[in-house]
């Protein structure tokens, strides 16, 4: 296990180092699919330059990172490339750990005899599961999206590192520690963390007093760490400017730079009268699926994390390919669902085609002038539809596998012929 992992790491580092040194690094750092106004490296440098000039980075509209990032990069700005590569390795190692841990738990479930005998082929053998962490690491490190994101030095990599750490800690059971870290993220994950670890390994029994005691403890710790982080950010710069600049920016979407998400063109073409309404609708849409998903998947916390990550990456206000890479890295964990997936071929073709067409249509719009914004917008729509299909397909496959685990794999109807299974 160690040897292939080391080989993988070496290959990944080589690719990234090679790209860093080439002229492609500048080109990639400017691509709108890879960087967004929230996590572009150029803006971090600009924020640091403004700080050097004695102006608060939040007095203008260029810098939208939390003050902790300023603090971090003030010292690390010369070692930026190494920082990002280290964060990549960190993510991959964390991602390695999580499936391993979660399968350890699943092994206990294996030994339970509640599954009908013909489901044995649905259950994974330990031999398969042995290779899954390596596959996860490979999916993450060698994913072109992650490579591009790392070479562009987008702070998405750091965000992914913190999310991965959160997932690891949640699986391990020490969820309380991670809130302080995850609150560094000014992004949406802050929302679902609360529900997530809350529901994780705690049996929900409203009548038991210990449940409420635990809730209270948990809420207190969450609010406390939130307070600490916000105050720390305040003391770094001495102003509260960062609150509207960071959180207000994500929520109110004033910057309409094109990206791979749905927000930019929608709000570029929105009637002024309805702007606030649709802004609220779109932002609620991101958080909306938390409660239903956590109710439905309360026995399957790891899948819940995956679903939440995916939904947030698709519907957030400034998505980039780095966010997509994180949830795509989880796909090998569910490789046993392959037989129930319905749209694999379609989704993979569409994703590949859209990824290839993004730079082409951008060039045609911005540089050649022979296409207009509608072309790029259409590809954005298609890409998001493909992602939604992928996520809902995996969800379907997961639920179907659960059904089969409880009811048997080869279902027969009353008269003995083969049955079909539908959602009703």
């Amino acid at each position: 296990m160690a040897a292939p992992l080391t080989l993988l790491l070496v290959v990944a580092v080589t690719i990234r180092a090679a790209l860093f040194r080439s002229s492609l690094a500048d080109l990639i750092a400017e691509r709108v699919e890879v960087v967004s106004p929230l996590n572009a490296w150029k803006r971090v440098v600009e924020g640091l330059a403004l700080l050097d000039l004695g102006i608060s980075p939040y007095s203008g509209d260029v810098f939208h990172e939390t003050p902790l990032i300023i603090y971090l990069f003030h010292f690390l700005v010369d070692y930026a490339e190494i920082t990002f590569m280290v964060s990549r390795k960190f993510v991959s190692s964390v991602l390695l750990e999580s499936p391993r841990l979660c399968f350890r738990k699943q092994k206990y479930a294996l030994e339970a005899d509640r599954y009908p005998l013909d489901c044995l082929e649905l259950i994974r053998s330990p031999k398969e599961m042995y290779y899954i962490p390596l596959k996860v690491a490979m999916f993450y490190l060698l994913n072109p999206f992650t490579i591009l994101s790392c070479v562009a030095k987008s702070t998405c990599g750091l965000n992914n590192a913190v999310i991965a750490l959160f997932i690891l800690c949640t699986i391990k059971g020490s969820a309380l520690l991670t809130h302080t870290l995850s609150l560094c993220l000014h992004h949406y994950p802050a929302s679902f963390l609360f529900f997530l670890s809350f529901r994780l390994y705690i049996p929900v029994n409203i009548r038991r007093p210990s449940f409420w005691w635990y809730t209270l403890q948990y809420a207190f710790m969450y609010l406390g760490s939130l307070f600490v982080i916000i105050c720390l950010s305040f003391f770094l710069l001495g102003t509260w400017d960062f609150l509207p600049s960071v959180y207000g920016f994500i929520l109110s979407v004033p910057d309409l730079t094109p990206n791979i998400g749905l927000f930019w063109y929608f709000f570029a073409e929105m009637f002024e009268h309805f702007r606030l309404f649709f802004l609220c609708v779109f932002q609620i849409n991101v958080f909306f699926y938390t409660i239903p998903l956590s109710i439905k998947l309360k026995e399957h916390p790891v899948f819940l994390i995956f679903m939440q990550l995916a939904v947030i990456s698709i519907f957030k206000s400034y998505p980039t390919v780095g966010d997509i890479a994180l949830y795509l890295a989880f796909l090998p964990v569910w490789s046993h669902l392959y037989r129930f997936l319905r749209n694999v071929f379609l989704v993979s073709c569409v994703l590949l085609a859209c990824s290839a067409l993004f730079p082409v249509l951008w060039h045609l719009w911005i540089y050649a002038g022979s296409a207009n914004s509608n072309f790029y917008y259409a590809i954005t729509l298609l890409f998001n539809v493909a992602q939604i299909l992928l996520v809902s397909d995996y969800f379907y496959a997961y639920l179907r596998r659960e059904y089969h685990l409880t009811h048997g794999l080869y279902l027969k109807r009353k008269d003995g012929s083969e049955a079909t299974l539908v959602l009703k």
């Binding site: 709108v32 150029k42 440098v45 600009e46 640091l48 330059a49 403004l50 000039l53 102006i55 007095s59 203008g60 509209d61 260029v62 004033p254 910057d255 309409l256 730079t257 094109p258 749905l262 930019w264 063109y265 929608f266 570029a268 073409e269 929105m270 009637f271 002024e272 779109f282 849409n285 239903p292 998903l293 439905k296 939904v311 698709i314 719009w365 911005i366 540089y367 002038g369 207009n372 914004s373 509608n374 917008y377 729509l381 998001n384 539809v385 939604i388 299909l389 809902s392 969800f395 639920l399 179907r400 059904y403 279902l411 109807r413 049955a419 079909t420 299974l421 539908v422 959602l423 009703k424």
Partner: protein, 547 residues
């Protein structure tokens, strides 16, 4: 006072500059209400008193002043409209007062100054120091705005002429006929109000209103290619009398290049000659005094004629010491670079210049890419004041003090990123582009000739506009070209389609997740095919058991 200065330019064009000066002895600082205006226009007097204005400078310009071909103008102005105002320190809400002032001025001058709002107003911290007396230098009370897209036409000239004491009926203002004035390469009209000392002890102040009009007539379009200029050819009018309300009314013709009359011939000849030091150069002028009846001659009208003797023999014009240029580099609609070039043509003296740049918010400047190079080497500015923009609230403001080495070109470059605006924020012709106002370069240029610092002596108006505090340098302000930048545009015909399509994608996500969340798997009893169902219906009707 009124005066007209005519200066033949080396390219064959001719530069005419009118200045009208009205002095009003009243004191606003005390806060007394004034009702006796005499010669001062009542509309401007009311503006000054109502909005507590200390200094007001407004100019409307059509065309760009070509410094390298025409030399330095007496009064520089940027293309489009420019307004800068110093308020008195009794004003509490400067922004609100500024907004009202711009609206009132747009009514007075029939110009669309109401487009001046917080997105194109800045507060320069070092440039645009007050030109009148008074020592308030808190730049909170200064506001500066330009509208580079503004066009000047007859509707702006008419109210401007109405502000003159004699109107356009007598005196030099008779020459201002719009069909000739606007048929020119450069046309600029301005109004400057500032407090000045009444006498050399400066015990009391009075208000000075200067109205200036600068025109450059082109040799080929107005002059029909013949190098022969007369008042009638330039303005289609001749002068018959001076304005009776004017205390002095003069015409100055620049004859420095023509001491013995070998280049051109001036008729009718005039014995009066005067010398003045202006723009670092000692120039000689032939003077026609219109208050003397003898000037008009027997025909009661004055039509000066300058006829050039030979068509060759261009002698060297003194090269302007300071010159600026600006352009946009880069390709595509995503990023770009603004390059500002400043030329110092002095052979051995270096001097510092103050560069003021106002860039609209939708061109996001990246100040870490700012580079200043002179002669290929890095030149660090000694003072940088940068105020970053806020989207849809205020523009970028960059002010730098740069030392220009002698005989060199200094290049200031900064990268920017173009923003995508909301579809309602584009002008009706979005592919024309967006204008970026001119940069302002202000400097004290060393002068070869000693400047006259005595401010109370009678001097021609054109040499007394910028007060010179020291003898060895004179103040110069240069405006660079405005820029025209294209922004990426969304498709304006698509708002409904975009809303529908995006909501469809969101609904696809919602629908599939809703299905999976609220429904469970069940074994399906398949319903029989259509043929079988029809057969069953027929069988039921026949009374036969179904299939």
């Amino acid at each position: 006072d009124e005066e007209l200065v005519i200066r033949p330019l080396h390219s064959g064009d001719i530069y005419a500059s009118f200045q009208f000066r009205t002095v009003w002895d009243t004191d606003f600082m005390g806060g007394k209400k004034v009702s006796h205006y005499r010669l001062f226009p009542k509309s401007l007097g009311q503006v000054i008193s109502k909005f507590s204005v200390r200094e007001l400078h407004i100019s409307f310009t059509q065309g760009y002043w070509r410094t390298m071909q025409w030399g330095q103008p007496f009064l520089p102005s940027p293309p489009g409209a420019e307004l800068w105002v110093w308020f008195q320190d009794t004003v509490t809400d400067v922004d609100g007062t500024w907004k009202e002032l711009t609206n009132v001025l747009s009514g007075i001058f029939c110009a669309s100054l109401n487009f001046i709002d917080s997105t194109n107003t800045v507060q320069p911290s070092a440039s645009f120091k007050p030109l009148g007396i008074g020592n308030v230098t808190d730049h909170r009370f200064l506001r500066y705005a330009t509208l580079p897209r503004e066009i000047v036409c007859t509707e702006n000239l008419t109210p401007w002429k109405k502000l003159l004491p004699c109107g356009s009926k007598a005196g030099l203002a008779v020459l201002m006929k719009s069909e000739k004035l606007f048929h020119s390469s450069f046309h600029s009209q301005a109004v400057h109000i500032r407090p000045v000392c009444q006498d050399w002890q400066c015990k009391s102040t009075s208000w000075e209103l200067r109205q200036t009009l600068n025109v450059v007539f082109d040799l080929h379009s107005s002059g029909q290619g013949k190098r022969e200029w007369s008042l009638f050819k330039m303005f289609s009018r001749t002068l018959t009398e001076a304005c009776p309300l004017a205390s002095s009314s003069k015409i100055y013709i620049d004859v420095t290049d023509n001491p013995q009359g070998e280049q051109f011939e001036l008729s009718p000849a005039t014995p009066l000659l005067s010398q003045a030091v202006v723009l670092g150069d000692r120039r000689t002028y032939s003077v026609y005094d219109l208050t003397q009846q003898a000037t008009f001659g027997s025909m009661r009208s004055l039509n000066m004629l300058l006829r050039w003797k030979s068509s060759d023999g261009e002698c060297d014009m003194m090269r302007p010491l300071l010159h600026g240029e600006r352009y946009v580099a880069g390709y595509g609609l995503q990023t770009g670079e603004i390059h500002t070039l400043m030329y110092n043509h002095h052979p051995y003296r270096a001097f510092p210049v103050l560069l003021l740049d106002t860039v609209p918010w939708y061109l996001r400047l990246y100040i870490h890419t700012l580079t200043v190079t002179s002669k290929g080497k890095d030149n660090k500015p000694s003072y940088i004041h940068y105020q970053p923009s806020k989207d849809r609230v205020r523009p970028h403001l960059l002010e730098m003090l740069v030392q220009l080495p002698p005989n060199s070109v200094t290049e200031v470059t900064v990268q920017f990123e173009r923003a995508l605006l909301k579809w309602t924020e584009y002008t009706p012709d979005p592919n024309h582009g967006f204008y970026v106002g001119s940069s302002v370069v202000s400097a004290l240029v060393p002068s070869v000739v000693a400047m006259d610092t005595n401010s109370t002596q009678e001097r021609p108006l054109f040499s007394s506009f910028f007060p010179s505090k020291e003898e060895s340098s004179y103040f110069v302000r240069i405006y660079t070209e405005p820029l025209l930048v294209n922004l990426p545009t969304p498709d304006f015909s698509m708002p409904y389609n975009v809303i529908c399509l995006t909501c469809t994608v969101v609904a696809v996500g919602y629908g599939s997740l809703y299905n999976l969340l609220t429904r469970t798997f069940q074994v399906e009893e398949p319903s029989p095919g259509l043929a079988k169902r029809l057969a069953n219906i027929i069988r039921k009707m026949r009374g036969v058991p179904p299939l």
